[in-house]
Amino acid sequence: MTLMPSQETVLLHGHIIDSLILAKVLDTILMMGGTFDLSEVHIGTTREQPSHAKIIVRASSEMMLDQILTAIQPHGAVAERETDCRAEPAPEVGVFPETFYATTHLPTQVRINGQWVDVGAIEMDLGIRLDPTRTSAAAIPMTQAERGDLIVTGRDGIRVAPLQRPPERDVFGFMEAHVSSERPHGPIIIDIARRMRALRESEGKQGKVLLAGGPAIIHSGGRDALTWLIESGYVHVLFCGNALAAHDMEAHLFGTSLGFGLLAGHTVPHGHEHHLRTINRIRAIGSIERAVVSGVITQGIMAACVRQHVQVVMAGTIRDDGPLPGVITDSIEAQAAMRAALPDVKLALLVASTLHAVATGNLLPATVPTVCVDVNPAVPTKLADRGSFQAVGLVMDAASFLRDLARELGCTA
């Protein structure tokens, strides 16, 4: 099955503006049930100079597309002669050819031997590698290029589909990436919960829920709610850093988060050492999993992840203490590990972490509904600026979001 509805690029030349020929062609496309994108319009600078337009015509079926093309052809709209995509060998390991095509996060196809082929693993800011037999294509980061890999260059023979409105009539279906602190959160959380419930009920067949989170989840008091969500089987992949895991286990071992008494409500003596002692203890045990299995860590987010077999990718940063065993300190390796965990993700919750939200956002195809929750409107705005219609921004604190979400899913605690 092809990823895209039927489409064709047509060109229109001549005095097409004042003659209303362009308007007529566009009206005809719409009247016949198709849609269009005006991908290029050049208007002549004098009356004598011709103008030209490049129009991408889309229809829900090949038959409708043919009918539309037949109807607009007499007005001069001719199908652009399609060519195969071009590819050049990568000159070095980790280097693309100079004129490589940089991907978007939208569904993309390349034309190989006259056939349009879906580009696998699409993600923004990558290149497209053709397999040596030139039968399939996949997006890869430049670091993964091997010398001689066939990398797509130029812009010919490449087409990018805009996002189709998803069939669900929920917050993700409105195709508007609004970010506002004044927007009521309730209905959005209800829609998110509905999707999570459906994904859990499908037992992984329809996909997984990813949560990428920062340590503010612990500081703000969202630990119990997230633990409940994981224990209840609503979260299947966790992306975080050293801090979330360290403070989660610190909370269990010392009752503090970065030395601040979670119940006491104030700093406790020598509290600033707690996360270091936590990290040190886990390092001594060898792994988080062993700490949980051996009964050292029995509660909290990390314990729930181990018990529920949640796939956890911990990506390190330059300011990390420790780090905990399992934290990937090479950022290219961390990216690769995150990327490997994404294929089945059908809903992404990016909570209270600029770093992990943006990193995850960069890796996600535009087709994955994404929620970005942060008290700082700049984070969801940054994500929405990626142009994903299905990214919903919520300006609220992590604990409130996680608690409301857990309550919506049946948590009574």
Partner: protein, 266 residues
């Protein structure tokens, strides 16, 4: 002095049907056709004061008399027609030969593009219009616009009875436009209304449009059109034109009238 290219109707007749006016059963009277044609020539050379260039008629080419379809001529350059129907494609080389032998620089359109000359391309000095959909392909105007460095506004013709632009649209020397709006699609009508001021539009009613009132020859302040169009005559006289109404009904049997029988060479 205006020069017009014409061709005597020695071999004119209805020998095929390529437009709704033509019926093989509705034969033309050769004697009457010749009389009407000579009547038109007399008027053009006499009262109107045009100079006529005569083509030699060719046996077996009954529509060769309609010289408006020879091509289009502007500033010494001629672009010969590329007819849609095979019946008329046989005329192409004769028209092209005449242009070459008479000192015109000839530019041919590439194969596969139909263009039926001044039957479809008409205009004012600074603004040209091109009829398309019935006979000429819209693509032709992109090329012609480049060849002549002129803006050409394509107009879609939607009624097969008005198969050439000159059957329903006639720009006049004073800047007015004689035309029959229902021959055009909605977009073309909007464009005409947009580009030609209302007071310069002379609208022809259906009954006279069907008598080819718009197939008129305008030379200076003289207008030659087929008889039987009193409303058109009145409107044109009100604007100060000198009108010459002539019987041309033998040529209507082939779907042509005064304008179709001439090609303006300047």
């Amino acid at each position: 002095m205006s020069r017009l290219l014409v061709c005597p109707p020695d071999y004119f007749g209805i020998e095929y049907e390529i437009n709704p006016w033509m019926r093989l059963s509705n034969t033309a009277d050769p004697r009457l056709a010749r009389m009407q044609w000579h009547g038109l020539m007399r008027e053009l050379e006499g009262a109107v004061g045009a100079r006529l260039e005569r083509l030699d008629p060719v046996p077996g080419l009954p529509d060769f008399v309609f010289t408006a379809n020879a091509g289009v001529v502007h500033e010494g350059r001629a672009v010969p027609s590329r007819f849609r129907h095979p019946e008329r494609q046989r005329e192409e080389r004769h028209f092209e030969d005449w242009f070459r032998n008479n000192g015109y620089a000839v530019t041919r359109l590439k194969d596969g593009i139909h263009f039926e000359g001044a039957g479809d391309l008409l205009g004012f000095p600074d603004l040209w219009f091109g009829g398309y959909r019935q006979r000429t392909d819209i693509d032709a105007y992109e090329h012609l616009s480049r060849i002549f460095s002129r803006e050409i506004i394509p107009l879609e013709l939607i009624n097969p009875r008005f198969y050439h632009l000159d059957t329903c649209f006639c720009p006049l020397s004073g800047g007015e436009l004689l035309y029959y709006p229902p021959a055009f699609d909605r977009y073309a009508r909007t464009v005409i209304e947009d580009r030609i001021a209302t007071q310069r539009q002379i609208i022809i009613q259906e009954i006279e449009a069907m008598r080819f009132a718009c197939n008129a020859v305008c030379v200076g302040r003289h207008i030659v059109l087929p008889e039987g169009c009193p409303d058109a005559v009145r409107q044109l006289q009100e604007r100060g034109y000198e009108i010459h109404s002539l019987p041309l009904d033998e040529f209507m049997k082939a779907g042509g009238s005064a304008k179709c029988l001439t090609l303006a060479l300047e």
